[in-house]
């Protein structure tokens, strides 16, 4: 039986290197992706590259059959209808609540003002975390460096992803709580999962072995 070729959405950014290594190990030629960081579509090898947060969008719409992205992205975009097939294990990082060092400014804000202000690129994860822990929070969505927000008095705390904690420490921030641990995941379009079952199952087997 011939196995249909899959289009795979590959995340640029922190997961890019290890994703290419993994794809190379299972026999997909990634040389052109490594050589050319402007090109986005590599039709010869069935790969397309994009920001990690765009991967669920392309996969849900079927513009890519499968994709690789972080669990943090999937949690933030949990309304996307995609299959989550495999925990790939790499790209491990932690979603944390952090504040400036010293006395916890969140405790003071909650005690006296009843609400804590939180800056984040992950408003859904932050909202859920503070709701689940029974605290009123005002979520401030920022697009750029979140570490700036508590240093300037915009907020008391941040919810952000950290791998080593270096950036937090360099900005005088300390981790107060762990929200969740994130790793890279293989996701699939719901229709491709049925119509290209053999190809997707073969990819899963290869990735598990690779």
């Amino acid at each position: 039986m011939s196995v249909e070729r899959l289009t795979i959405a590959v995340p640029r950014g922190a997961l890019f290197g290890e994703t290419l290594d993994l794809l190379q190990r299972i026999g997909i030629d990634t040389a052109e992706l490594r050589a050319n960081d402007r090109k986005l579509l590599f039709a010869d090898v069935g790969l397309i590259t994009m920001r990690p947060s765009d991967v669920p969008t392309y996969v849900e719409a079927g513009a890519a059959d499968v994709g690789i992205t972080g669990k943090d992205v999937l949690m933030e975009r949990s309304e996307r209808a995609v299959y989550e097939l495999l925990d790939l294990g790499y790209g491990r990082c932690t979603m944390v609540v952090a504040t400036v060092a010293g006395p916890d400014p969140m405790a003071e804000a909650l005690r006296r003002l009843g609400t804590v202000r939180i800056a984040t690129k992950y408003p859904k994860i932050a909202t859920t975390h503070f709701e689940r822990t029974g605290r009123q929070a005002e979520i401030v969505e920022v697009k750029g460096s979140v570490e700036l927000a508590p240093l300037t008095g915009l907020v008391e705390g941040i919810v952000d992803l950290t791998a080593t904690g270096t950036t937090l420490a360099e900005n005088g921030l300390v981790v107060r709580e762990e929200v969740s641990v994130s790793t890279a995941r293989l996701i699939a379009n719901p229709v491709a999962h049925k119509l290209k079952a053999a190809a997707i199952d073969a990819l899963i087997r290869n990735l598990r072995a690779g």
Binding site: E60, A61, G62, A63, E79, A81, V82, Y83, E84, L85, L86, D87, R185, N189, P190, V191, A192, H193, K194, L195, A197, A198, D201
Partner: protein
């Protein structure tokens, strides 16, 4: 000057309308040929009547009050109104009853391609026809209708809503642990399913079975997979398969992981897939207990297709040629 319309709704202009009309004409022709009669019901119903369908995605999303303070709801599908019609207007009528409809339904979805808060659905309900004959008849009408519309590459995923719960029960998974496992399956999260199965502390072969069976999808050879626990559901699927004309059987993908958010499905369930669209075009299944909730106990089966999605798939198939 421009004036907005609510998110998730849309206007249709003549060029598009002509194409949509060609699709609905093709569907009507097949439904009438198969001896189904067209019905219409009010867009607004009493909320308490529709709520007999149970919780889940079938629950109405939009409610309003009338001048007397009654709570009205916009129907979320046509299956519940037709169940009401059968119990009310056909209380003693001989069965089977065959109805088709072309009607708008209203859902609280995140608007995206082919997914609207107001959606035009075309479908059939076959009432008083038990499995497997009723299921096979419905699948045959479904295939004929999709072919008449002009789709060439569609496939139908066929599973059984009772399969996974039966598998869990057979391996001694307590009833109160079913919810989290089914939730992972409904949300299509096999990593989460593996985590939840791990919490059960089952021996390795059983844990492996609970994780791999819902990932099985393919041809009729799947129905031969071993395991007494699955025998009931697989026997039902085999019986349906045996009754299907070969043109229909060739379109079927058996899917042992197919589950539903709608709360009223009891047996066979199916989804329509087309390579030109990333979401199912429609689906259906058996709801043998639903009409009983309205007061006349009858086995039933049906499907609904979203007309706009058929249209997107049709134009997409032209592009793939």
């Amino acid at each position: 000057m421009t004036h907005p319309i609510p998110s998730g709704t849309r206007d249709v202009l003549p060029a598009e309308m002509a194409e949509l009309r060609a699709i609905t004409d093709a569907l009507r022709e097949v439904f009438e040929w198969a001896d189904f009669g067209e019905v219409a019901t009010p867009t607004l119903e009493y909320a308490e009547v529709l709520e007999r369908g149970g919780a889940g995605a079938a629950a109405p999303a939009y409610r309003l009050f009338d001048q007397q303070g009654h709570v009205l709801a916009l129907r979320s599908d046509m299956t519940l109104p037709i169940a009401r019609v059968v119990a009310t207007r056909y209380a003693d009528a001989p069965t089977p009853l065959r109805f088709w409809y072309l009607a708008a339904a209203y859902r609280d979805v995140r608007p995206r391609r082919g997914q609207r808060r107001e959606l035009l659905q075309a479908g059939i309900e076959l009432i008083g026809a038990p499995a497997p004959e009723g299921t096979a008849e419905t699948l045959t009408v479904l295939c004929t209708a999709l072919e008449k519309v002009g789709l060439e590459r569609f496939r139908i995923g066929l599973g059984d809503a009772a399969l996974y719960p039966a598998l869990l029960a057979a391996h001694g998974v307590p009833e109160d642990a079913h919810g989290p496992l089914l939730h992972e399956l409904v949300t299509r999260d096999f990593v989460g399913l593996e985590r939840e199965i791990g919490k059960l502390g089952l021996p390795e072969p059983e844990a492996h079975l609970l994780l791999t069976v819902p990932q099985l999808r393919g041809g009729a050879e799947l129905l031969e997979v071993a395991g007494e626990a699955l025998e009931g559901a697989l026997e039902g699927l085999r019986a349906v398969h045996a009754l299907l004309p070969s043109a229909v059987a060739g379109r079927i993908i058996f899917d042992l992981g197919l589950v539903r958010e709608l709360g009223y499905y009891t047996g066979a369930i199916f989804d329509v897939y087309d390579p030109a669209l990333g979401t199912p075009l429609g689906g259906g299944g058996r709801y043998d207990e639903l009409i009983g909730r309205f007061g006349r106990s009858l086995p039933a089966v049906g499907f609904a297709l979203t007309v706009e999605q058929l249209h997107i798939a049709l134009t997409g198939e032209e592009r793939l040629k």
